[in-house]
């Protein structure tokens, strides 16, 4: 049994326009020391699925799942109080916006020591020593003085390091990093990713890395979940995914990588992830898929060997008796 196992997780939001299914049948399995990436464009329900695991969604969210187990505990039936003993300690999460994710009214030191005191306890002196140690660990220069700094006195990169320090403070077994570098400068992005990779190895944590950047995935992850409009469309190990993507969406994401681009312009997939009001019938990706057929427009596909597609790709071409490329004029 895996350390963390999620089966068929769905999240529905009550909205003014009715129920909105932001996450639809997502699976996740991760073991000690493993690194799984969740990839997908903005709005694919990557954050929502992990927030559901953490129990951090607002009350408008309805969460259902066949299974949600962590280390033998059933997270679906657990009480709020028991969950609070796990999150921040055994499972912790780093967010996308370092500048707004730290409390502006408290010092960096206070915010780090607070989480240690909550879960592990200790005297003031011990807490302080541990906080300094953590700040050093995440590569913050002169940690003793930084302890007294407020978040707004530091750069985004530094704040993200503080956030990481705070979230690894209790030696979590699973660390979820939700686009930890998206809000940062390109030069800082690589440093933060490197730091996370190092920490993961050093501490033997399981790590879920959420990103919309396939380039990041290639360098870090072992297993990749590709998510689109709330659905998990493909799951593969990283090598297979890059060599032989099976879902047209994965294929398109890889083609959009700058180093694979053939033209000068940064390529991207035309169109956007459908939201609440523009959900298509059939396969959710069909309006943007260059292989879409009438069947794709009317019938929702089932999972065929970990790919959510009527015509999984092989060598970049659709299989399963696809009626032919002539039908597949991409509609933009």
């Amino acid at each position: 049994m895996s350390l963390l196992e999620i089966r068929n997780l769905s999240v529905e939001f009550e909205t003014a326009h009715g129920l909105f299914r932001a996450v639809d049948g997502v699976d996740l399995e991760i073991d000690q020391g493993e690194m799984v990436a969740i990839v997908g464009e903005s709005g694919s329900g990557k954050s929502v699925s992990m927030l559901a695991l953490m129990g951090l969604l607002p009350w408008t969210a309805k969460i259902t799942a066949d299974r949600m187990n962590f280390d033998g505990q059933d997270l679906l039936t657990i009480s709020q109080k028991e969950r609070r003993k796990i999150i921040g300690k055994d499972i912790s999460m780093i967010f996308q916006e370092p500048m707004t994710s730290l409390n502006p009214c408290f010092t960096v030191g206070y915010q780090i020591m607070e989480v240690i005191r909550e879960h592990l306890g200790g005297t003031k002196k011990e807490l302080k020593k541990r906080a300094i140690e953590l700040l050093g660990l995440v590569g913050i220069p002169s940690p003793e003085t930084r302890l007294r700094a407020f978040p707004h006195q530091m750069s985004g990169g530094m704040n993200q390091r503080v956030m990481i320090a705070m979230m690894i403070a209790c030696n979590p077994r699973v660390l979820i990093a939700d686009e930890p570098t998206t809000a940062l400068d390109v030069t800082i992005q690589a440093q933060i990713l490197e730091l996370l990779g190092e920490l993961q190895k050093k501490q033997g944590m399981a790590m879920v890395l959420i990103t919309h950047d396939m380039g990041v995935v290639a360098e870090t992850a072992e297993v990749v979940n590709v998510q689109y409009a709330g659905q998990q469309v493909e799951r593969q190990d990283v090598k297979g995914l890059f060599n032989a993507p099976r879902h047209p969406y994965t294929h398109a994401l890889l083609n959009a990588l700058p180093e694979r681009a053939t033209s000068k312009r940064l390529p991207s997939i035309p169109g956007v992830v459908p939201g609440l009001l523009d959900r298509p019938t059939g396969c959710l990706f069909n309006p943007r898929c260059k292989f879409a057929t009438d069947k794709c427009r009317s019938d929702a596909p089932d999972l065929h060997s970990k790919v959510l597609c009527h015509y999984p790709l092989e060598d970049g071409m659709p299989t399963n008796n696809h009626p032919g490329v002539s039908v597949a004029e991409g509609n933009s």
Partner: protein, 336 residues
């Protein structure tokens, strides 16, 4: 800091001059003058009237009177009350503690109820409690003070007989006014039951004066908390596995208080305005009642001096609130 003070002074000085001008002309625009009102129905001959007015210096040109008023302010001299023959400043200072005591109790009452109510309403947004509280606070906000005071008197004093109707203390007691604050003086006096009497005299005026600030504080706390509860750092606090008390009472509230404290501070002007009516209803011997009495007697010096003093206090408190805002907001205090 220096620039902060300088810009504030740039606003305060013209405001202050405006206040002196309004205070000076307002009371003189009312029909009648102090001598006429003193003479009452008996009347006074025009010669005697002119003589008495001249004695008080009211025969001088109006601009000369205004400048001597300003000159007096610069020297800390607000003239002598025509009625009591006491310096206006002294009159003001003897009554001021009574008003401070009332206003202080009112603001504490308003904050003690308004803060928690606003927090609960925000946390349980959309609940029955939230809707009820917002409804009540809207009513409270638009409550006419006079009507509200009389209603409470009729109910609690006249019908139920629970609370006294007027004054600060039962006539049975004699208390040495050491501090001017009845609660403190009564507490340390030898008179048995005096403290209880002082408290019971305070209850209704406190409620009446505190109602509008209570409504404002509850609403502002709610909206500040609602805004803060949606912030990323509150989610981070939850993600740390902290208790709801820490998440709401420490992480969210600390940020919401930055606005709420400012709102509470700015209530001081509202309170002093409300105190004038409240003190009149309950015969509370503070500066509000003194102002009203002085206006009815056309006590020119008392009114103009009193208005200037009250306005100065409001301006000083607002300045202090501005300053406090910087102190409790780390983003201003510790600039990069």
């Amino acid at each position: 800091m220096f620039r902060f003070i300088l810009t504030k002074l740039g606003v305060l000085i013209p405001t202050f001059l405006g206040v002196t001008l309004i205070a000076f002309s307002f009371i003189r625009m009312l029909p009648g003058d102090p001598i006429e009102l003193l003479a009452g129905e008996r009347g006074v001959t025009p010669e005697r009237h002119a003589e008495l007015m001249a004695n008080l210096g009211f025969d001088r040109p109006i601009w000369e009177q205004y400048f001597s008023f300003l000159w007096g302010i610069l020297h800390g001299d607000l003239g002598v009350s025509f009625m009591s023959r006491q310096p206006v400043l002294e009159e003001f200072l003897t009554r001021f503690p009574a008003t401070v005591e009332l206003a202080g109790c009112a603001i504490i009452f308003a904050a003690l109820i308004g803060l928690p109510a606003g927090i609960i309403a925000a946390v349980k947004r959309g609940s029955a409690f939230d809707h009820t509280l917002m409804g009540i606070s809207l009513t409270g906000y638009s409550m006419p003070i006079f009507w509200w005071g009389l209603l409470l008197i009729i109910l609690f004093s006249a019908t139920l007989g629970w609370t006294p109707v007027s004054g600060r203390l039962s006539a049975l007691f004699w208390i040495e006014q050491d501090t001017g604050f009845m609660l403190i003086d009564a507490f340390f006096s030898d008179e048995e039951g005096a403290f209880k009497s002082a408290v019971s005299h305070l209850i209704l005026p406190t409620i009446v004066l505190g109602t509008i600030p209570l409504a404002i504080i509850a609403r502002q706390t709610r909206s500040a908390m609602l805004e803060v509860l949606g912030e990323d750092y509150v989610r981070t606090a939850r993600a740390k596995g902290l208790s709801s008390f820490r998440v709401i009472g420490i992480h969210a509230l600390r940020n919401a208080l930055i606005t709420v404290v400012t709102v509470i501070g700015l209530q001081v002007g509202v309170l002093l305005a409300g105190a004038i009516l409240t003190e009149t209803i309950f015969s509370w011997p503070g500066i509000g009642k003194w102002m009203i009495d002085s206006i009815f007697r056309r006590d020119y010096f008392a009114v103009q001096g009193g208005i200037v003093l009250i306005a100065s206090i409001v301006m000083m408190v607002n300045l202090f609130v501005d300053f406090m805002y910087g102190l409790i907001n780390p983003r201003i205090l510790h600039r990069r």
